[in-house]
Symmetry: D3
Subunit: 243 residues, 6 copies
């Protein structure tokens, strides 16, 4: 069996990172991951939400949204439904949680970084592209804080990388595109740090269940993908040492 786009089962789609994609954000990239394209803008603000005030610690959060025509048919904007899209709510909570997994909040100090992930084209894997690209934007913003002398050292403790795996027509595959995702029996998102540990794992049996053996197979593929992706992140960050 060959995949929809002729990739090997353990092969990522082509990935391209464009740094400084917009000019105002403290960290800004465009990540193109196959046909999925996400603008990741990290904004530094010298304040923290009220629940963090006075504690000497910083905060990192994420927002995720799609342009109305990022998809095959047009979606109404949230504001016209007066309701944050529930899927986007779930995704941006995942992005924020994942990125915070790498941040030393004390080292960041009482400032906030918001990572806006705006999907301009969606072809599967927008959440993993948002985390993987959002980390680069976050790292660039932190690097800027160090370069401007606002921080003595990088407040990041590890790389954060995300990839999807799944079972399609009975086979475990890495990095599902939209067609594969729609047909998948199992869909799993894996978020890892450079310390080879899991930050978050979310697997869903879309049509039926999955066994522990299948889980092991998917994790194996996932780790391979994470390694490839982390190399791409390091290249984009020119080998930036985190600590």
């Amino acid at each position: 069996m060959s995949r929809f786009d002729n990739r090997e089962n353990d092969e990522l789609r082509p990935i391209k990172i464009t740094k400084n994609f917009t000019r105002y954000a403290e960290g800004s990239i465009l990540i193109e991951w196959g046909n999925t394209k996400v603008i990741c803008n990290a904004t530094v603000e010298e304040s923290v939400p009220s629940f963090k005030k006075g504690g000497g610690e910083g905060w990192v959060t994420a927002e995720y949204s799609m342009l109305p025509r990022a998809t095959q048919s047009r979606n109404k904007r949230d504001i016209h439904k007066l309701k944050m899209n529930p899927r986007a709510t779930e995704i941006q909570r995942l992005i924020g949680r994942s990125l915070r997994g790498a941040v030393d909040m004390k080292a960041l100090g009482e400032r906030s970084i918001t990572v806006d992930c705006d999907v301009i084209q969606a072809d599967g894997g927008t959440r993993t592209a948002s985390i993987t690209g959002g980390f680069i934007a976050l790292a660039l913003a932190c690097k800027g804080l160090v370069e401007r002398g606002l921080l003595a050292k990088m407040p990041l403790t590890s790389y954060i990388t995300a990839v999807s795996v799944g079972i399609v027509e009975g086979q475990s595959v890495l990095d599902l595109c939209y067609e594969e995702d729609s047909a998948a029996e199992v869909d799993m998102n894996i978020i890892m740090s450079n310390a080879s540990g899991f930050i978050e794992l979310q697997g869903t049996g879309e049509n039926g269940t999955f066994s522990q053996e299948q889980l092991a197979e998917m994790l194996c593929l996932g780790k391979k993908g994470i390694q490839d992706l982390m190399k791409i992140q390091k290249d984009a960050l020119e080998g930036l040492e985190l600590r």
Copy 2:
């Protein structure tokens, strides 16, 4: 090391199911799981959402909410913030996805079942209590449809059961209460069907990461818990055969 409430690491909190907790819902239970208490009401309606109309299939969805004083300090109601609580959004999507994992939508026919999970007291594990209890409410509602002759057979293909596991102070434990959950290094929710397969797996490193070995250990505890819980569900449903 002993646990906060002296349980064994693989021991569930005491669980009590009260059937027919309210009188109008087609399926209604109160699940008391330690100090966590959730009312699960399943409502049958003879219509489906517009995206399912005309296809001859049914739909199952869930809603999750907490009473304002289900927790140690009072939370404002969603309507006063004009915004669905984001955590609740994430949870109710998980409950709905998990329950749909057991439903034969063709067998259900063009009708909807909404499972309302209203937490009246929260002490950790509200999402697993909602899924585990919500399944019983769903099954009772389906049983009613069969008994009233509206369905020829049960439209459920398996039991759906959920439990939390985690790593607290370095040890893997089953079924975290609120204090354990707050202190956990890793928190994982496991949803399984009676076919021993995983429906959904969500693990999060709250303070740091987790390794594949720790994952295996948690899954082992989780399966044990799932078996105990499924027995409780079956007792509540008086051994109801699904197919």
Copy 3:
């Protein structure tokens, strides 16, 4: 003519108060009044709304809501309509006004008590159950403030009790259940203090009007019901003296 449930015209439905129904609220009861069931949770907070700040006085307010399936058919949650239910708005204003009728705001000091009335099952009389039960929750919360030494004396000046009366098929009856309420020509809610005075009176001719003679007859029934209910409140509060 006999009533729907064979009660005498001046007979209340069976009423049961369960104290400490939830564990976190400063005052918590479940009131079961026939088939109507309301959780009343009183929350004490050490702050007041901005319009009361700095005046040395406290504030008491109420919120009222129904679970989606408290009724025979399911109601959508407010948050999905982005609009507080207008009937609930009217009712919670009545509950708050009634309870404030018994509070010495100076004695309470600059703190707030919010009484959440959440209807889990509705069979007529939810507003009178909320006031009558809400008063008990409020009194328990105040008692706790005295016991913890935060207040020198109870800040309540009287009991507050509510009951419905009405005219059904030409006869005055006490405490209407849902079927009676739906068929009533006149529906009246009476809220009284232990000083035998009226706190609030709301009568509505649902199908036609009512005369002053009918009003007198309903008030007579209502006073009888109030006396019976106040005894139930006092028993639940173990004879708590207010001043």
Copy 4:
């Protein structure tokens, strides 16, 4: 003791009705009641809300709102708070209920009449002015339906009139202005039909309670006021016979 504006205790403020105040509404009046001024516009639409469809009956409803500067200090518009004012919600439900008390829905047929009560200046008694004036607008709209041949006869069964009474500094008084209302011990709104019956009665002890004797005294004053007001309504409607 003399009243704030030197009126007798049973004396109404001067009342003026301007018919055809706006040119598009099917029934339109300005009611000036002392310094309280309310525009009442009745709109006829040839459709009914979904819950009335197909039953051959009509529907009458009311909306109530204040201009931002109808009061001594400016109030924000509802839309900027994204929330219908709770007091206005309560009032418009009362207006709608009261007016429906006089409507023969079968005779009206499947059409709706919406009575918009917009307060341009508020000096106490806006709800009684809205009901009393709103009835005139409603009657004018119905008269138009008869004149245009859309209805064979007036679909109203009685006049509907509203007035406030209260106890101020220990004395029962009719028709409270803002200063009296603010200082009142008891505040009561009385809505009556021409058949001398009560449509709705709402009394509130603002500072303490009221006795049955005080109630009788207030009702007596109220009936006197209702008679005077009904004469004003009849004059405005040029003696229009309802049936």
Copy 5:
């Protein structure tokens, strides 16, 4: 060709200003402009929005709304759609911008003036009536500040006057009523100060385009109208000198 209402092409509709239309606003007028009627209430508040705080300058803003039945068919209130009407949003921004064009914010000091323009009847030209009438209300409020000694001099630098012009059936006309506006090929709003300068110019080709010659013709008519209107404003303000 004669106009819909037999006016000359350069003739305004009859205009009437009623001062002190409501009693609480610091500046209040009713402007009747043909059949268009707008209540303009200016409210002075001793505070400024947060973006102006601490700068020693004031702020002037406007709000615009229509009563539901200001028009031939009834419009739902904004609050029921949970959305500010987009046309009203555009108009109130124009009114605010135009009025601010005449205000010396330093001279006003750190206080705000909100000009509420509530249309009670609409027959074309509601935005120009709102600006022209709103200016009078604003001037009256400022005059009050001077008279009460809160300001040493008027904080207004010029009169602000607005009028519409357009091309209807090929002819340039001044001050379009609703029927003309609906049929117009071009519609233009002209806002000018007494210094003969333009404050704002908004022209729209509704059905096709307009040439620079047509623009010149319309501006010529507009200036004539502005002069007539400014005289009406000055009369209403009794020749009030601005500086």
Copy 6:
């Protein structure tokens, strides 16, 4: 005096059109206009809004939004304020009105085209970029309808082009960048069709007024800019004939 970026007073910033910027929209371009960047996506849908149904005509509308970090400081998303940004409301109404000026709705038939203008970087002139670029996206979508045989001919009657002019430090200049816009005495947006006629004209005196001579000077500059821009549009559309 030289301009902020050394341009001549009648010189446009460099403009670049990237066609097929996203892959799903029926017409999609990125317009880069100096540092202003807007994605314009035109979506064709085979339905019309309810107010156009059954009339055999089509509809064209526009939506305008900025990414949170399109600007120097981050703006909250509309959905978090539950309110469409008022400035964006005004702008998207202008874009829609302008584009409709070129559409033959009968020729389009009962289908809708929505032009989404999403600003990813803002440096002045986002509304003129949205109209100028939005027209190209609209034309590409229409061209596709013709190519797919759904339309017999192009439903556009002319090109639509927009440019800003203004007065900065006393001099009339074409195409203001953000710094110029912030400092401008007068700001004007000119929208024209290829027939040399004006579609819309919006001029605002930001600090003071402007005279008819200044208006003429600005219009002269504007026409020059429109000609240059229309050439860029024609190049992008490869000389597409409209009729």
